[in-house]
């Protein structure tokens, strides 16, 4: 029983007699043997490692995404290296590429806004390391991408506000570096346009997904001479900030102001009233991204699911108590 035979068994290669295979497996269990990942990646062409690059994800997004990715990795006996970076800073593309190279990872996950950054995406397109883009904005250079139809979700949510009778609907944008930001704004605008409403630039404020930026945006919107009767914030943290601001001004949500968010973050259940929001299948998307990388590595049979390249994932609109309907003055 040579060392090579053991290797064959552990890698599930063909041409090993069942009896031998069993004997090896027994010994492995007996000795509690685990193959050394470093040696494997040095000698073979796989490292059993993926890297996940992110900048700043909202708390809930990071933990949900990471969970989905880790579950998928575990199933495939892979490990996940996480790395934080600043997409704005110079040399980030080089550093990420260098990291992926020296780590010999079999693939990388580029979370937003990393996968939205052309310089970085282009860099990985030039490397021969598979990269999966999560919710990217622009050019994918033929790389696998996993995304949700943010525009439709935002449009649907806006439509819901319109259906509830709202005509002046404020919008709080997300972080400009994220692809989702423009797609969500797009959906909002589409809904207004289809309803025959002219969009009022005063009603569109900028934000960066942070609670604080939501406070600023809400202040601006609620101080308007003609304030909106509903506000759609690009994520729940900012929506919660809007609710908080409204409360401070003595406004009652949803009586005086309807508010909706995006993400179904934990915070959306804690606000009073709870927020209507959009739930993304974050864990599923993370797992899908890992599976794409696995396919690229050739370690996973192309499933039907996978053959639907770059498909969009289903969102879900959660109706909670933060929206009121009624006739509003125009």
């Amino acid at each position: 029983m040579s060392i090579k035979t053991v290797s064959r068994v552990l890698n599930n290669e063909a041409n090993v007699r069942p009896a031998t295979r069993d004997k090896v497996k027994a010994a492995v269990r007996e000795l509690n043997y685990v193959p050394d990942v470093s040696a494997r990646s040095l000698a073979g062409q796989r490292s059993y490692m993926f890297a996940m690059f992110y900048d700043t994800a909202s708390e809930g997004y990071l933990s949900r995404f990471q969970k989905g990715a880790l579950d998928a990795c575990r199933d495939a006996n892979y490990h996940l290296i996480v790395e934080q970076c600043r997409v704005g800073a110079g040399g980030t593309a080089d550093r990420l590429a260098a990291t992926a190279t020296q780590l010999r990872v079999d693939g990388v996950l580029l979370l937003p806004p990393v996968g939205d950054t052309e310089e970085i995406v282009e860099r990985f397109a030039g490397l021969d390391i598979p990269a999966a883009l999560i919710a990217p904005a622009g050019e994918t250079f033929g790389m696998p991408a996993v995304r949700m139809d943010d525009a439709s979700a935002a449009q649907e949510m806006t439509q819901f506000l319109l259906d509830s009778g709202h005509r002046r609907i404020g919008f709080v944008k997300g972080h400009p570096a994220h692809g989702a930001t423009s797609r969500r704004l797009q959906g909002y605008s589409n809904a207004l346009r289809e309803a025959g409403l002219s969009s009022d630039d005063m009603l569109i404020t900028s934000g960066d997904f942070s609670f604080e930026s939501g406070v600023d945006a809400a202040d601006k919107l609620l101080s308007l001479a003609e304030p909106p009767t509903a506000i759609f914030a690009s994520n729940d943290d900012m929506a919660a900030a809007v609710i908080r601001c409204a409360a401070e001004r003595g406004m009652q949500v949803p009586v005086d102001l309807s508010v909706v968010g995006f993400d179904d973050a934990l915070i959306s259940k804690a606000t009073v009233p709870p927020l209507s929001t959009v739930r993304q299948p974050v864990e599923t998307m993370a797992a899908a991204a890992i599976n794409r990388l696995l396919e690229a590595t050739g370690s996973r049979a192309m499933s039907d699911d996978a053959s639907v390249a770059n498909r969009s994932y289903e969102y879900q609109i959660l109706h909670r108590a933060s929206v009121a309907s009624g006739p509003f003055k125009v």
Copy 2:
């Protein structure tokens, strides 16, 4: 200029002539060379990798901790592998040990409740892989531990409620597997005892750090014949749930009920009114844990800071609007 000399320069070893060193560095920059981590860990005795094992951390905790750890890793040119596990499940200790071994990591971070699980901690004590325990409950087997004085913080917070005139103070416990859970309860009890109050078991409810468990606990406490005038929840998610429940019952916080939490999670700023809470230096503790591992690996000079072994980290009590004072009926 042999390959060995390059190795010496990259590892900052002594006995390389400055001129040689410069030449090598120039070439490295020129060729964009990065040493292969797998080869390094196979040949040498360091892998430049740490592993972080966690079960389920609250969203905010995970992202803050991970950030602190990653920042510290980056400074030392280390990488971080994350792995999720279920401490309750059988064989977890073996699997974690196997993972750490096959990965050749230079150390592991055991987050709560992983580092609270005797079986797992004991397993790592037997391995020769340095392990740092984060906020552990029990025996540390001589391993480096990084913790905060949860008991003092909870006691101080409870004292604050007492000082505000509250005499019936409800308590919502955290997840029983976490060491912090009993320490926080301890602090609460201590404060009551020192105030000469007999503790009422009816006022102590169980929870598991989740929002939902907070709802259940709040329902129980607020349904009491003699309900508390203040509730101390072991974390902010549960405290937010308490506020939400109170609101649903038509109670005004803090007029009818004072609520305090623990963690300074994002959610604590979103509640109406915002929560008084305890802020832990999570990032600092994570960085400290990494530094301990670095010391254990011998790659970091023992700093003064470090010589204070297993010291506690400073918390901060944040006073926000969720507590009212006044005379309450006893």
